[in-house]
Symmetry: C3
Subunit: 162 residues, 3 copies
């Protein structure tokens, strides 16, 4: 692969299920290992992947936002499966089977992605709508909107919506 | 961005949930604002996004098609969320939170996309299978099949399946 | 279309629902008909599309893997819909409506794809995690990991995650 600026990779991470989040980070770290500049744009439920696992005390949340925040999973350890989740049992089972096969866990994959300079971008419009504030998300993120995503996508030959 | 004919954007809108439909139209109108020719190809459940909100009296529907038509949501106001929908309550909540943050509504986004000459294409094969007829869909659509989608995708550097 | 090595198409087939699997094979066979080299990479639930429809006696399965294998659908005839499945009733209904309109069935589409030299690749990491062995999948597949997917995606101008 030539180091062509049009050879980047972008992903919109929309769903925020454990299985889809794993797939997106496996692709992202793989692409980064090939020398690609990779940008992951987390939007809607995808933002849950980036949440800290403890509750963070933030001001200026209205009732709806607090309620929404409490119902949505806090971070990679709490995510469910997109199928056969059975109230979290499927998710636990999947993690057990992954461990048996020494598959890197999602928290490890996120750390790895950050070490490999994969850009993790939180969609500011979705944060507004869902009432999520910067203090509730992990460190090392960028914050941007759709125009920024599109400009990255423009320079990429691999663009996925996950 | 050069006005390169290979710089278009296409999206297959498959799911037809409120949140995914919003994401697809936000990306589409953003890309159109950058000067891209954008084509959205609505297939399977995605067709529900394009339905008129009232029941339309059409002939030549068999029993299965009528039943299917009645069970599927009629247009952008009736769509549910892909997650935490709770029989429509989640969808209402999300719309309320969007309104609080002055996010453009889905019906407005669809209108905006049409004004910006985003091509909205209904997949004719899916219409056949689901028994949806042109009279049941909003005005200003094009009708085509997979070959037409692929030829648009061929000229695009951003191709998403949503 | 020039026969450009960068003009291939790849798809990650992740979900493994009947409707999404149909969409992916319709796009794949359409792209192959245009002269494109098409690679479909089956991962996570997408592997269920490639399962043989009978139980296969394999050794070295632990309890979790056996249980998982029993709960996941065996092959294209057993897949459910991503929406309105109603325990399989929606899936049957959809197949009936497709038959009324002479839409090619999923098993036929898979056969067609193989005849048109669409590369069907099973993700080996997902097979490991889900405890699926080669004997349980249909013939004519290739087996590879994410690096192989990325190298195919690099040569493609249409890349979808389905």
């Amino acid at each position: 692969m030539e180091n062509n600026p049009k050879n980047n990779a972008t992903m919109v991470v929309f769903d925020g299920d454990l299985d889809k989040a794993m797939a997106s980070f496996i692709i992202a770290t793989g692409a980064a290992a090939m020398g690609k500049q990779v940008t992951m744009f987390f939007t809607f439920w995808g933002l849950n992947v980036l949440r800290k696992d403890e509750a963070v005390n933030v001001k200026n949340k209205n009732f709806l936002e607090k309620m929404f925040g409490r119902m949505m999973p806090r971070g990679p350890e709490k995510l469910g499966l997109s199928k056969m989740n059975f109230g979290g049992a499927g998710s636990k089972l999947m993690k057990k089977m992954m461990k048996q096969h020494n598959v890197t866990t999602l928290p490890e994959l996120i750390e790895l992605a950050q070490e490999m300079d994969v850009k993790l971008v939180a969609c500011t419009m979705s944060m507004d709508v869902m009432g999520l504030q910067k203090e509730e998300l992990i460190d090392g993120l960028e914050y941007a909107g759709v125009a920024s995503y599109l400009s990255e996508a423009e320079d990429s030959n691999i663009n996925l919506f996950i």
